[in-house]
Symmetry: C2
Subunit: 339 residues, 2 copies
Amino acid sequence: RPVELREAEVRMIDQRQLPEKLVYVDAKDARETAEAIRAMVVRGAPAIALAGAFGFYLEASRHISESADKLEEVLVKAHALLLASRPTAVNLSFALTRMMNTFHTLALREVRVDEIVRGLRAEALALQAEDEVACRQIGEHLLTLYEEGMGVLTHCNTGGLATSRYGTALAGFYLAKERGMALRVYADETRPYLQGSRLTAWELQQAGVDVTVICDNMAAAVMAQGLARAVVVGADRIAANGDTANKIGTMGLAILARHFGIPFYVAAPVSTIDPRTPTGAEIPIETRPEDELTVIRGARIAPVGVAAYNPAFDVTPSDLITAIITEIGIYRAPYAFSH
Amino acid sequence: RPVELREAEVRMIDQRQLPEKLVYVDAKDARETAEAIRAMVVRGAPAIALAGAFGFYLEASRHISESADKLEEVLVKAHALLLASRPTAVNLSFALTRMMNTFHTLALREVRVDEIVRGLRAEALALQAEDEVACRQIGEHLLTLYEEGMGVLTHCNTGGLATSRYGTALAGFYLAKERGMALRVYADETRPYLQGSRLTAWELQQAGVDVTVICDNMAAAVMAQGLARAVVVGADRIAANGDTANKIGTMGLAILARHFGIPFYVAAPVSTIDPRTPTGAEIPIETRPEDELTVIRGARIAPVGVAAYNPAFDVTPSDLITAIITEIGIYRAPYAFSH
């Protein structure tokens, strides 16, 4: 698990150092947790949200002998500090709002401060349990789409390292492993950050799942040879019409899957579906710094001064998506989300 | 130029060190030249062939005061040594055969040894001139397919570094630059060897061509946004029906180009068209070692022990190829090569 609440600290896998080293970072209060999130020790929106909730609780537990008023003061600061650590992650904002609401609900009822702190711990652990259940349900639905021995291609990292456990797009692979169903996973490396080769390959290997790393540009060959017979990816945001923003390279895989007649699946919790975004055209695409592309782990791989274009996401039109798999069920085109 | 014949040596750009350093390696005889080819100082089939021909001539020039019989003995050894340096490159074999034939033709006529050596020098320089003319002609034909201001995507390195000058797929960009026609080139990095970001970006930047590096998985986004309105690639082997083996990732680009309705061009000398290979199914695809994919410039980017699949080439079906551009003209589907 990428994030775990221990006695007096939140313990995080330092994902920056994978796969070379498995190192943990401990944070004992809101400030240290915010620092770890900012420094990308932890990544993946659900995992970041959990780390934030745990950091919020730890801050409260360090002020267990203060008054409720003093505790509120501390928690308002902790909330602001944690929220600012990664301002774009909506899951983090959602989790911190739930923690703050829990405090207010208990404080209004004039519950003792040590009971409030216990309540915050329970709420943070509930967030973790809910995420785990949602991921597991996504995995259950994904399993119905796979067959024994099938090769499945995945992109980026949407696994246990990005969530509380199981992941979204990777959840089906973990459940298949638990049930003795053999799947062959192809993890494309996912340039420029290499989340596929560094993180997905690492966590699936740890779990004993049959995983093979390929370069992004090998996806067509793997499909043409029949090695991959389905594609499964996660999502950063799903518009009301099903258009899906996800890690750069996702749209290309959807086009290749269509060409070779194999299904293209998006797996994500329903909270990723944004009814206020009508279509993909309204999703802003972040462009990242050029040197994230021209330098790999300290080594320059393009000439100094050359231009580079580094969009972080692309938008896959919904007509290329065979199905969207959520914890509450499987949606198919044309997408009319019911939740 | 990647390979140049100087007074008493062949001077090669050390392509292993690009783009970080521009360093030259000099070879003064057949053995040193073969070593430089084997070590991949020089790469690209036409450039390797030239280096081989120059090394062969240099070996002869070092035995200018010997008898013709002794010279023959030396050249038979040089031929074998150079041919073995990269056994798969047919261009090298072709160039060395021409050099050996030139020796035999002159020796049969009982030409003086110093005249034979001069003849070998002329033959090696003729090979270079012919390659340069063929590349330039390919470039002329490519230019008829481009429009002012157009964005063109290319893959791998098929430029001046891979040939005597101009390159094949890149030749059109150099000619456009010479004539003041503005083109915007997108060079995808071409994992796992990064020939696009390391070599194509470097040589186009040196020539003042407008070039932007992208990751392989960004090609679909660049096409969707209208930034690239054509794709041009080289070829390793073209079957009689037009199916084209080229660097891994080429087929995926052809499928994306078809999806977005933009032309997909293959540029190569006619010698690349192999009439003895009926279709792409008969082209063997080399699979390369896994660590060429899991380690980038010394840094591990995938966990130790994880499987990796590393095919070096793929075969693009001819029906996805808009046109094949050679020095003798432009072929369009259905392909019926006349040479």
